[in-house]
Amino acid sequence: MNRQKKHVDALVIGCGVAGMTAAEIIGKEGYSVHVLASGYGCTQMSSGTIDVLGRYQGEEVVDLEAKLDGFIRENPRHIYALAGKEKVIQALTEFAVESASHIVEYKGEPRRNTRIFTPLGTVKNTCLVQYTMSLNNPSELTGKKVLVVAIPGLSGYAPNLFTEGLRRRNVKARMVRVNVPVKTTFQLARFFDLEAEGIITHLKEAGAAGFDYVAMPPVLGLRRTRSILKMLEEDFEAHFFEIPSFPPSVPGQRLHFLLEEKCEQAGVKVEMGKIVTGVKIKNGYLREVEVDKEKITPSVGVVATGWMLKSILRIKGLPFQVNESLNVEKNGERVENLFLALSSVSYENMIGLGAAITSGYLAGINALKYLREGRG
C-alpha cells in the first residue's frame, strides 16, 4: 500500500528538554513542527533545577559569566563552546523570562549562580530554580526558624540529613513528622492538586505553625502549585519552600509540563510512542523519515535523543556520523538540513540541564536559519 507522504517544516526526534526547546523555538516563528518520541522523555528524571556550571577548576562557581569564559576556552568541543557564551546566556534568559507566564516560573540570574540546599542537606551551586525553591538557600535561611516536614516512608529526600545540614549553617531547623499514607512524591503532589485542604489539616495537627519558614519535599502539586502555595502561606503565616528531590521528581515533571505548554502555544505537535524506523539521506540532505510505516518529508530535522543517540545511529539506512562540531555527516559530506541537540551531564563541573537547554536552543536557531534561508 502506498501511503501518502506527509510534509512538515521541522521534525524533531526526542521530547526531552533539548528536543522540546528546539521545537518551540522553530514553532513560534510560524513553521510547522512535529516532535516524535519513543517514550515520555527523561525530564522528570531530573530534579528540575537548571545547573549550568556549578564547579570549575575544583572551585564553586558564583560568577557564572566569568567562569563560562574560562570553561569555554578550555573545552572547545563542549556545547557551551559551540554555542558561545552569549548564546548560552541568551538561551537561559529566554527560558527564565518566558517561564514567568507559564505553569512553573524559574527564578535566578543567568549570569550568576545561586546556592541551594540539596536533598542530602549539602549545599550546591545552581543557576535557575523553580520559584517554589527560591527560598531554599543558605543566605535566606541563616538565623531563621525553619520547620522541616518529614513524611515517613516518602522516597526522594533525606529529612534528617537535610535538617542537620541546615543546622550546620546556623539555621534554627526542627523536623516534624507528618503521617500521610503515600510513598512517592508524585502521589503526594497529586493529592495536593486534588485536595490540598486535607493535607493542610495533617500539617496543622503535626504542629507546623509558629515558624518563619516551612520546608516541604517537592510535592506542592503538579498543576496547581501557585494556589497551593498561596493557601499554605495564608494558613500558616509562614514562607513555604520545596526541597529538591532525587529522581523521578515532581519539579522535573513540572518542567516537562512547562515545555509542553510552550510547544502547544507555538503550535508544535508532540507525539509519544513513535519509533523512527528509517531515514533517507540523499546528496547531502535529509529527505525522508519513516515512522511506524508512515513517511514524513521534513525540510529540516533535529535529533535530540540524549544518550539514546547510539541506538538511533543503529537504525538501518541511517549511516550518518557526527563530527566534532555536532554537524551530521554522511560519507564525510555534511548533511545540510539535519541538526543535533546533544549534550551530556558533567559531575566534575556540575553541568546538567543548562547544557540541555543550550543544545536545544542552538539546534533550534540553526534549524531556523536554514529554514529562513530557504534552502533544501
Binding site: A158, N160, W307, Y347
Partner: protein
C-alpha cells in the same frame, strides 16, 4: 583489660571460635579491623558443599565438607536454603571424570544419585538441553552474612566481647605473645592466648611475632545476576576449574569462580576478562545467562595452604600452636572452607582449652544458632503478603528491606556504616545496587544519632564501592550507572 583469649579476625572462623570458647566458659574478646564478614567470608559464593566438588582431588576436605554440611543443616537451618545440587556434564566434558567422581563420592561418603537429563530439566527447566549426565548431591546454599551474624549473636549471648573497626597489633614480650594493642586507641588487652583467625591475612599477624606460616592468598572472582532462574546449585562435572558453579542466592544467582595467586589479599578486584570467562563457562550449563543482567562482580581472597597450583592446593585447614616454633601464646588457624568453619573453630578451641588447662567440651555441633532479627527475602515476600501495615516501612525496594530491620542492624547487630547494613539486610545487593535506598539508610543513621559528617562519609564510601562495578558494565547498564552518579553528585551535591 584482661581476658582468657583474644581472637583476631571477624570472619565466620573467628566468630565461630568466639562462640565456641565463650560457650565453654572462657572470657574472650574478638577484634576485627573492619566489619564482621567483610573479608573472605562475605566474598564467598555461599555454597554449602556436599563435598562432591573435592572428592577426586582432595578427599580429606571432601569428607570434612560432607560431615559439616550435615551439622550445619542441623544447627543453622535459618541461614541455609536446602536447594540440593547438580553435577552436570556438557558435551566437551571428559567422560572419564564421571567414573573418578563416582568412586570418590563413595570413598568420602558423599551421597550421590544419577538423574536423567529429562528429569533434571523438569527440576531446572533452563538447564542446557544438551547436557548428557546429571548427578544430584546434597549441596545447599548458606548465606555467609547470616551465618556470621548468627555466630556473632551466639558469642554475645555467652558474653564474648566483639569489637569491629578495631585493628590490633600483637604485644610480644620476651618471645611470648601476651596480648594485643588496638591501633587507633592504643588500648592494651592482655590474654593467655591470642588466636589468629585472619585467613589469608594470617601471615600479616604471624610476622609481628617473627613467624611465617606460608598462607598463599588466592583470588576468586564471582559474578552476580539480577535474577534467579535456578533453585538448585549447578556444578560442572569436571575437575574443579574456572566458571563452573552457579549458586542461587535469595533473589540473585552467584556465578563462579576463578583462581589466581595474589600477593596482597587486600588487592582483589575483578577484571572484565574474568567476568566474561565466568559468563561463558557458566553459560554452558545455563544458556539463558546471556539474557540476564549482571549487577555486580566481586573478588575474595582464599587462604590456601602449600600446593602446586590454586586448584591443586588442598582446601583443608590447619591449626598451628606456635609454641613449637618457640613463640608462646599464639595460635593460628587458616585454610579451610566456609562449609568447615565450625570444625575449624572446634579444633582451634580444643587446642586453646588444652593449652589453658580448661576442661570443657565443644557444644557447637549440638546447639542451634540463635535467630536473627533480619528476614530473608523469602520471608519478606511472605510477610509483605500477610502483614497489612508492612509496605510503608520499606527502605530498600529491590530486596524489601524494612526500616525496622535497618534500625535493628544498627542497634543490636553491630552495624556502623552503610556497607554494614548491606551485609546484614541485603539493602544494596539487589537490582539497583542500593542507589535508591542508600540515602534513606544514611538518613536513618542520622536519626539514630550519627553525625551529619559521618553519615555523609559513610554514604560516599558506600557509593564509591558500589560504583566500582563500572569497569564490568556495558551499554544500557553503563548509562544507568551514569544516571545514578548524576543523582548523587549533581542533585545531591556529593563530591
Amino acid at each position: 583489660m584482661r581476658v582468657d583469649a583474644v581472637i583476631i579476625g571477624g570472619g565466620v572462623t573467628g566468630l565461630g571460635i568466639a562462640r565456641d570458647l565463650a560457650q565453654r566458659g572462657l572470657r574472650v574478646a574478638l577484634f576485627e579491623r573492619r566489619d564482621i564478614a567483610s573479608g573472605t567470608t562475605g566474598r564467598s559464593h555461599g555454597l554449602l558443599h556436599s563435598g562432591a566438588r573435592y572428592v577426586v582431588r582432595d578427599p580429606v576436605s571432601a569428607s570434612e565438607c560432607a560431615k559439616e554440611n550435615r551439622v550445619l543443616r542441623r544447627i543453622a537451618p535459618h541461614v541455609i536454603e536446602e536447594t540440593g545440587g547438580m553435577f552436570v556434564a556438557v558435551e566437551e566434558d571428559d567422560l572419564d571424570y564421571e567414573r573418578k567422581f563416582l568412586e570418590g563420592c563413595k570413598r568420602a561418603s558423599v551421597r550421590v544419585e544419577e538423574l536423567s537429563v529429562r528429569e533434571s530439566r523438569k527440576i531446572e527447566p533452563y538447564l542446557n538441553p544438551s547436557a548428557y549426565t546429571v548427578f544430584l548431591v546434597d549441596d545447599a546454599v548458606v548465606d555467609p552474612f547470616r551465618l556470621a551474624i548468627a555466630n556473632f549473636l551466639a558469642a554475645k549471648e555467652h558474653n564474648a566481647e566483639i569489637y569491629t573497626y578495631e585493628p590490633v597489633r600483637l604485644i610480644v614480650h620476651e618471645g611470648t605473645v601476651v596480648g594485643v594493642e588496638t591501633v587507633n586507641t592504643k588500648q592494651k588487652i592482655y590474654s593467655d592466648v591470642v588466636i589468629n583467625a585472619t585467613g589469608p591475612w594470617a601471615d600479616f599477624i604471624c610476622r609481628q611475632a617473627g613467624l611465617e606460616i606460608g598462607v598463599k592468598p588466592n583470588k576468586g572472582t564471582l559474578v552476580v545476576t539480577g535474577k534467579r532462574v535456578v533453585n538448585t546449585v549447578l556444578n560442572r562435572l569436571r575437575p574443579p576449574s574456572d566458571g563452573d558453579i552457579i549458586v542461587p542466592h535469595q533473589t540473585t544467582m552467584i556465578l563462579g569462580t576463578t583462581s589466581t595467586y595474589i600477593k596482597d589479599p587486600d588487592e582483589v578486584m575483578p577484571t572484565i576478562e574474568e567476568v566474561n570467562l565466568i559468563l561463558r563457562e557458566c553459560g554452558k550449563m545455563l544458556p539463558c545467562l546471556r539474557e540476564l543482567r549482571v549487577i555486580r562482580a566481586f573478588s575474595g581472597a582464599r587462604p590456601l595452604l602449600e600446593g602446586t597450583s590454586g586448584r591443586e592446593a588442598g582446601r583443608t585447614f590447619t591449626v598451628v600452636d606456635h609454641e613449637k616454633q618457640g613463640v608462646e601464646g599464639l595460635v593460628t588457624v587458616t585454610g579451610g572452607k566456609l562449609t568447615t568453619y565450625r570444625l575449624m573453630a572446634e579444633r582451634t578451641s580444643d587446642l586453646v582449652c588444652r593449652k589453658l588447662g580448661v576442661r570443657a567440651t565443644c557444644r557447637t555441633s549440638k546447639e542451634e544458632l540463635p535467630k536473627i532479627p533480619v528476614r530473608t527475602c523469602k520471608e519478606r515476600y511472605e510477610a509483605s503478603l500477610l502483614e497489612a501495615k508492612w509496605e510503608k516501612e520499606v527502605v530498600c525496594e529491590c530486596e524489601l528491606v524494612t526500616r525496622r530491620e535497618v534500625e535493628e542492624s544498627f542497634k543490636v547487630l553491630g552495624a556502623k556504616t552503610l556497607e554494614d547494613i548491606k551485609r546484614r539486610t541485603r539493602a544494596g545487593m539487589g537490582e539497583c545496587q542500593g542507589q535508591f535506598c542508600a540515602y534513606k539508610v544514611a538518613d536513618i543513621m542520622v536519626e539514630l544519632g550519627t553525625s551529619f559528617h559521618d553519615a555523609l562519609r559513610s554514604l560516599n564510601e558506600f557509593l564509591r564501592n558500589q560504583w566500582k562495578t563500572e569497569q564490568i558494565l556495558e551499554g544500557t547498564q553503563r548509562a544507568q550507572l551514569e544516571f545514578f552518579k548524576a543523582m548523587y553528585k549533581l542533585v545531591g551535591g556529593l563530591e
